[in-house]
């Protein structure tokens, strides 16, 4: 599950999450469960998403986030929006 980041986008995403919640850089992997690894609740996760949207200049509607629990999952959503 803990594969290394496969893209630049995933690396940037992991760096952003690590910095936001005070985790060591490089301690997160794309397949990690966001809530469990970061120890955050769903509201904190949504706040992080807003930062991700600002960083990447995309908007992800809430309904697309249902069932997404990993960094790789978010990366995929961002990638789709970036086209």
């Amino acid at each position: 599950m803990n594969a290394t980041p496969s893209s630049d986008l995933e690396t940037r995403l992991l760096t952003l999450a690590a910095a936001r919640f005070g985790k060591a850089a490089g301690s997160l992997a794309p397949g990690d469960d966001i809530f469990e690894t970061l120890g955050i609740d769903s509201i904190q996760a949504m706040e992080m998403l807003t930062e991700i949207e600002t960083t990447f200049g995309v908007e992800i509607p809430d309904y697309e986030l249902q069932g997404v629990t990993t960094f790789a999952g978010i990366a995929e959503l961002v990638r789709r929006r970036l086209g």
Binding site: D41, M46, L49, D62, G67, T69
Partner: protein, 609 residues
């Protein structure tokens, strides 16, 4: 069935001194059904704004009551043309947006029964509830419609889909223009025929559980809504000029009342926001100057975090000043909230929430007292209530005269409450009676019988006691069900099903507060899995068990995950049909294990809506 012995009974709240603003609202006692009341409201308040919808900071639309009436008439006519009338069921699967109340009102106009279905469920789970409810029509929106497999909704004769892209494949479903009138060709624009209903007729079927197990569709009569409207608005009037921010799902009984029927019958405005990111929630509260909203406890936590950050950022002297002002505010608003005083004293904090907030409703036993008290000291009144779908939502609520953070309030007007089979300290099962009770569960005589006592009182399954002033205090549950901080009902039996592949002899899932009842500590109640490994299990066995448990847990929706593990050597008592005797097992575990023996997995995580 044994006859219950009421140990304590509480009169319902004396009708609050009627707020003069209440006279601007429609008088629900004059109506026989919800549809009639809504029909009057759409005419009475026609020039007012009914709905404002935002997507982040952009205003998507503002609709007047007249706009709403036109959209309702068009849809009601369409339902009529499809042969939908008295007693037919119309299901709605939608996020919070104006089309939801429009669809529900149109169904009520036709005398139909509205079946709100949780849009957060997976398509398969929604299909299971639709199969149970057997609606003649389904109204939904494209992003929720699209994930259903082709043909999955074919059993529903009329499926209307809003917001479908131009070339979307809709199968047998039809487009619903809703607001722009861009319906499928051939839709009539003749006025609809209004179909009246009686107070005892079913108005809605609301599912109080939906995933796995037997679906429980609470049949709520028109009188339940009319009675609830009268009781709640006597305490908390919501009238023209008020702005209700609807963020709890409208399919949930709370928002159906507070974010739809309540504001619409008073001429108020309902605000919808397409995203639930806290940042945009507070931005919306500011831009729309929100006056009322209902929240789940988890959101109060997020708001508190924002307030604390604001307070912590203040220089020391200013922080001291705010602390002093909080004390002054508390003293000045001791008997009842005074928004002007609080807003003047604590302007920066109030402005962060728009500065107009009159009340935040927060449901359930899971509001932490300290948190509610902090909000109150800041002059942001949190009205803590308690209720369940079986009783049309609100059974008790704090009237804020004065604010009480330690209780879920007194029974609302018309609702009788009693504590049955109380122990020495006065704790027993909370039971309810009155016009807001459901008629029963749809097509389930057995569960309906189990839900009521012989003399017709609703068994809530919640344990509590009444204090001298008839305020209810909840202490635990007599049923093995958990209500999460996000307001979701979780049934341990569902989760056990998902754990079938876990490598152990047997396991059972409990609400932690059911295993160990701890008065006043319901907050953050978690699910705990109790497992028995085979005798003489090796280290490898144990590791395999833990890994399989972890993997199965990860596959569950976040709010259903267990948070703690207790390994026991006790064999589970079972019935002849091999069902776990939960009550006996709980007693056994209570006697042989302490809470300290549980291994916690980490912080609870759950979705807000």
């Amino acid at each position: 069935m044994q006859t219950a012995t009421p140990s304590q009974a509480a009169p319902s709240q004396p009708a609050a001194p009627r707020d003069p603003r209440a006279y601007e609202m429609l008088d629900a006692t004059r109506y026989a059904c919800v549809g009639e009341m809504l029909r009057d409201a759409l005419v009475q308040f026609k020039t007012h704004t009914a709905f404002t919808e935002l997507d982040r900071r952009r205003v998507v639309h503002r609709l007047s009551y007249l706009d709403v009436k036109r959209a309702v008439d068009r849809l009601a006519r369409r339902l009529e043309d499809a042969g939908i009338g008295a007693g037919d069921r119309v299901a709605i699967v939608m996020t919070n947006q104006a089309r939801y109340p429009i669809a529900a009102t149109a169904a009520f106009f036709r005398g139909a029964i509205v079946v709100p279905i949780d849009y957060k469920l997976t398509p398969k789970e929604r299909e299971a509830l639709l199969a149970h409810a057997k609606p003649r029509a389904l109204v939904t929106e494209y992003p929720l419609f699209a994930p259903h497999a082709a043909g999955a909704l074919e059993a529903v004769p009329l499926v209307l889909v809003s917001e479908a892209p131009e070339h979307a494949r809709l199968g047998h479903a039809q487009r619903w223009g809703a607001l722009d009138g861009a319906d499928a060709p051939g839709v009539s624009d003749a006025p609809p025929t209004f179909v009246p209903r009686a107070r005892e007729d079913v108005a809605t079927i609301v599912y109080s559980s939906g995933t796995g197990g037997a679906p429980k569709g609470c049949m709520l009569p028109h009188r339940a809504y009319l009675a609830q409207y009268t009781a709640l608005t006597a305490m908390f009037p919501i009238v023209a000029g008020d702005r209700y921010f609807s963020i709890l799902p409208t399919n949930h009984a709370i928002d159906f009342m507070c974010g739809f029927l309540g504001p619409l019958c008073g001429g108020a405005m309902v605000v919808h926001q397409r995203t639930l990111r806290p940042e945009f929630l507070t931005a919306t509260m500011k831009s729309e100057r929100v006056t009322h909203m209902a929240v789940v406890p988890l959101l109060l936590t997020a708001f508190e975090r924002a307030i604390r950050e604001k307070l912590d950022a203040l220089p020391g002297w200013q922080r001291t000043a705010v602390d002093a002002l909080m004390q002054v505010n508390e003293r000045l608003t001791e008997r009842r909230p005074n928004r002007l005083v609080s807003r003047t004293l604590l302007r920066p904090i109030h402005e962060a929430f728009g500065g107009e907030l009159r009340v935040l409703f927060c449901g359930g036993a899971f509001v932490e007292q300290e948190r509610a008290e902090l909000f109150n000291r800041l002059g942001l009144p949190v009205a803590i209530g308690y209720g369940l779908t079986e009783a049309s939502t609100v059974a008790t609520v704090n009237d804020l005269r004065p604010f009480r953070g330690d209780s879920v309030g007194r029974a609302v007007e018309g609702v009788s409450l009693r504590i049955v089979d109380a122990d020495a300290s006065g704790v027993g099962e909370v039971q309810l009676h009155g016009p807001t009770l459901m008629l029963g569960y749809l097509d389930d005589a057995e569960q309906t019988r189990a839900a009521f006592t012989e003399d017709g009182w609703l068994r809530t399954g919640d344990l509590g006691y009444l204090d001298a002033s008839h305020h209810l205090h909840l202490v635990g549950r007599s049923k093995n069900m958990i209500v999460t901080r996000g307001g979701k009902n979780v049934y341990p039996e569902d989760i056990e099903g998902a754990f079938a592949s876990v490598a152990c002899e047997e396991l059972a899932v409990f609400a932690e507060g059911y295993l160990w009842q701890t008065r006043g500590e319901l907050v953050g109640e978690r699910l705990i899995v109790v497992a028995r490994l085979k005798a003489g299990a090796s280290e490898v066995d144990r590791r395999r068990f833990q890994e399989s448990l972890h993997a199965a847990n990860q596959r569950l929706a976040d709010y259903k995950r267990v948070h703690a593990l207790l390994v026991t050597e006790e064999s589970f008592p079972r019935t002849a049909s091999m069902k776990i005797k939960r009550g006996e097992l709980a007693t056994l575990l209570r006697g042989t294990h302490a809470t300290a023996e549980t291994v916690h997995f980490g912080e609870p995580v759950e979705a807000v809506r």
